[in-house]
């Protein structure tokens, strides 16, 4: 199998709104940053993968076609991925496939999002459910994950204060990340004082609607040698999907449990198997996991086998997973909870791991990080992607 590496990453400073650029201009901003980081130009790119979640978020159908010039893709192979919130990391996996296939040596994965720039993201996201049944409830991503949080807390005994600790950790991390959207540190009391949105989720348990761009450059081993730059090797990838029906995630016949992230655990195991990761708690130095709400991070940590089931919140309360702690540091960038430009959120997870394992993560650097995990989630907690990256091609020990 051909070795593939991330050789460049660029991200804009994520904010609520950008009125200084059009969507293609925003995409170009992220693409240019990644190409500069890799030390190449658009002329060097042989194919482009576009990372774009629901068209409705930007109000343009097939918005990727509008951006072809912005990413210099004229006359080149070009395709778009959309697995909802999982899109960004699935797109990086698609870039990996391009290079690993042997058909290409240099592939750009580019995208952007402007989540806050329509009247109501949640009203729009309600339209992702089936027309005759669940859409009418009305469900949105907050009420959908509130049901998951209720089930998790009931199953394992976690509390709203336990969830608040996730926000406290991630906001502290984000304060060290100049690209993050929400960078103000908060306390548990601050979180508990925010208004209830959908029990048990309060405002500070939720991600913001972010605007910004991000891109990565993927290259073959042969090309990486020519570039002579820092790279993060893609050591393992995995994906898995669940049923759309949340009612089928409960009860004795359920394939997956809505309290947990069972299919994400499957996706992660697939990436671990390919990478040769046998003991994630010992072997994964840093994890950038897609968790848009505080409650989600708890069960994603468990899906990643960084904690036994139902124990992540007690371990977090003991100080684990934070910058400076022993063991795997989770979301040193502040994660999705502090920055969520949906189309590229998963891509940023891979990019942040690239920065960590190459030692260029600035104030949020995890000391001596060499192996990292990135993950993403899309649909109604339905589409999952996972990727293991490392700064070497040796056996992961």
């Amino acid at each position: 199998m051909r070795n593939v590496a991330i050789a460049g990453f660029g991200q804009s400073h994520f904010v609520k709104s950008r009125t200084d650029v059009t969507f293609p201009e925003l995409v170009r901003e992220g693409a240019t940053l990644a190409l500069d980081d890799a030390g190449i130009t658009m002329a060097d790119v042989q194919a482009v993968v576009f990372s774009m979640a629901p068209d409705a978020l930007i109000g343009v159908g097939h918005g990727e076609r509008w951006c072809v010039e912005a990413v210099g893709a004229q006359g080149k192979p070009f395709m778009r991925i959309n697995t909802g919130g999982a899109t960004g990391l699935t797109a990086v996996q698609a870039g990996y496939m391009h290079v690993a296939s042997g058909l290409f040596d240099v592939v750009l994965v580019a995208g952007a999002d402007r989540v806050s720039e329509q009247l109501s993201a949640q009203s729009m996201l309600n339209k992702m459910w089936d027309t005759g049944y669940e859409r009418l409830y009305p469900l949105n991503t907050i009420t959908m994950l509130a049901l998951s949080a209720q089930r998790y807390n009931d199953k394992y005994g976690a509390t709203e204060e336990d969830m608040a600790l996730v926000t406290v950790k991630n906001r502290r991390h984000a304060s060290l990340n100049p690209y993050a959207h929400l960078r103000t540190p908060v306390t548990v009391d601050d979180v508990m004082a925010t208004r209830m949105i959908s029990w048990p989720l309060k405002l500070a348990d939720l991600c913001p609607s972010s605007t910004g761009a991000a891109s990565v450059v993927l290259v073959s081993e042969e090309y990486a040698k020519k570039l002579n730059t820092r790279v993060a090797w893609v050591r393992g990838i995995g994906q898995c999907a669940e049923t759309i029906w949340m009612g089928d995630r409960v009860g004795p016949a359920a394939l997956q449990d809505h309290a947990d992230a069972d299919s994400l655990a499957t996706a992660m195991q697939r990436s671990y198997d390919q990478a040769g990761v046998t003991n994630p708690r010992e072997q994964i130095d840093v994890a950038e996991i897609y968790a848009p709400f505080s409650s989600v991070e708890l069960h994603v940590i468990e899906a990643a086998q960084l904690s036994p089931l139902g124990e992540s919140f007690t371990r977090m309360a003991a100080g684990e997973f934070a910058l400076g702690s022993e063991g795997t540091v989770v979301n040193p960038s502040g994660g999705t909870l502090c920055t969520n430009p949906i189309a590229v959120t998963g891509l940023v997870r891979a990019g942040e791991v690239y920065l960590q394992v190459t030692g260029h993560a600035g104030d949020r650097q995890v000391q001596d990080a060499s192996v990292g995990l990135a993950s993403s989630i899309g649909g109604d907690h339905q589409f999952y992607a996972s990727m293991v990256l490392a700064n070497h091609l040796e056996e992961i020990s």
């Binding site: 409705a56 990727e64 076609r65 192979p77 042997g102």
Partner: protein, 373 residues
């Protein structure tokens, strides 16, 4: 590297201008089941599912959420391609070449009848600053392309009429419809000059699925279409920056897929036709006709062009290009039904085109045997 993969199963739903007795999910389930049965496999044999969506066409924000289950995607590795259905097939090839999959199910669908008017979501694909306020949409783009061609080379009205009739007769045979179902001469109202209703694709609902496997996974009881070439490319979005009388991205995709071969080396071509005149332009870019003489494609018999009738009379939205590739594969499998070319072709080319005035193109070539490469 080639054959990169083999098509061992294919299935599509019957022609219907508007499917009212089945939901989208039921249509997807039926073709998934049909393609697997054609391959002699079960969903348990599949290690990756690739879906193709066009969200706004049916008003679903993430359309693949509801179709993932009926495609057998639960508890499986699933990827959704949203740029165009043919890219799902390209991606299946990449997965197999990359060593990440051995047996891949690819599912696509188009149910434009779910929109009040299919042109409404189409208009949303125009960027909001300049084109959308003008009412720009696919038919307008096709009209501009045709008028540019007419201005430079003139239009052969006889060839246009012959093309319309040829495609209508083939479509009627293909879909088991009575003669005259498609009355190609009655729609003479100009939609976008110089194109009339009869010159533009006619919408229908359809779902389709294909099973692609690693070449070493093909068993003796399977009938394979070996994928001998693969190419895809895009042009820029701004049509003012393109030569509308040519399709640069199709030329790039053809070169990538043909790998030094000539279009003359193939027995059958199944190609997307964005309009009658668009067909002439595509034929020129493919090397089926010389520049400015695209109308000659109407009388070509070698290779046979669109024996299935193509998409002019049966255009299933997002899956229009996918269907062309499926039909090209079915020809070398000997499973093209009423469209089957005799004697059975040894090789075929499928061309899928999408976007305003054919912004993007994908080409797959197929062989009847593994050593057809």
């Amino acid at each position: 590297m080639f054959p990169s993969a083999a098509v061992v199963g294919a299935f599509s739903s019957p022609y219907a201008a508007r499917v009212e007795d089945r939901s989208l999910e039921e249509m997807v389930f039926a073709v998934t089941k049909g393609a697997l049965a054609d391959a002699g496999l079960t969903i348990a044999d599949i290690d990756a599912v690739i879906l193709s969506t066009h969200d706004q066409a049916t008003g679903r924000v993430i359309e693949s959420m509801v179709t993932n289950g009926p495609s057998g995607g639960v508890d499986r590795d699933v990827t959704t391609l949203a740029s165009s259905s043919e890219h799902a097939l390209c991606y299946a090839n990449l997965r197999i070449l990359a060593g990440q999959s051995r047996r891949v199910l690819v599912v696509g669908w188009g149910k434009p009848s779910e929109a009040v008017d299919p042109s409404h979501p189409d208009r949303l694909t125009a960027e909001p600053f300049f084109l959308r306020p003008l009412g720009f949409r696919s038919s307008v783009a096709a009209g501009l392309q045709a008028s540019a061609y007419a201005s430079r080379y003139g239009l052969d009205e006889g060839a246009l009429a012959a093309l319309r009739t040829s495609r209508a007769r083939a479509s009627e045979r293909m879909h088991g419809l009575p003669d005259g179902h498609f009355d190609t001469e009655s729609d003479t109202d100009v939609v976008a000059w110089p194109l009339t209703e009869a010159d533009l694709p006619r919408s229908c609902d359809m779902a389709a699925a294909m099973v692609l496997v690693h070449p070493d996974e093909v068993t003796s009881d399977q009938t394979a279409a070996w994928i001998t070439g693969l190419g895809w490319a895009t042009d820029g979005y701004e049509i003012a920056d393109r030569d509308l009388c040519d399709l640069d991205s199709l030329r790039v995709a053809m070169k990538m897929a043909l790998r030094g071969r000539s279009i003359e080396d193939f027995d059958v071509v199944e190609m997307t036709e964005l309009s009658t005149v668009g067909s002439f332009i595509a034929a020129e870019a493919m090397g089926l006709a010389s520049v400015g003489a695209g109308a000659s494609v109407v009388s070509r018999t070698t290779p046979a062009v669109n024996p299935s009738g193509g998409n002019l009379l049966a255009n299933p939205g997002n899956v229009a290009g996918f269907m062309r590739l499926l039909q090209a594969a079915q020809q070398v499998r000997g499973k093209a039904g009423a469209a089957q070319v005799e004697p059975m072709p040894r090789s075929s080319v499928g061309v899928a085109t999408h976007g305003f005035a054919g912004q993007g193109n994908a080409v797959l070539t197929f062989g009847a045997s593994r050593n057809e490469v």
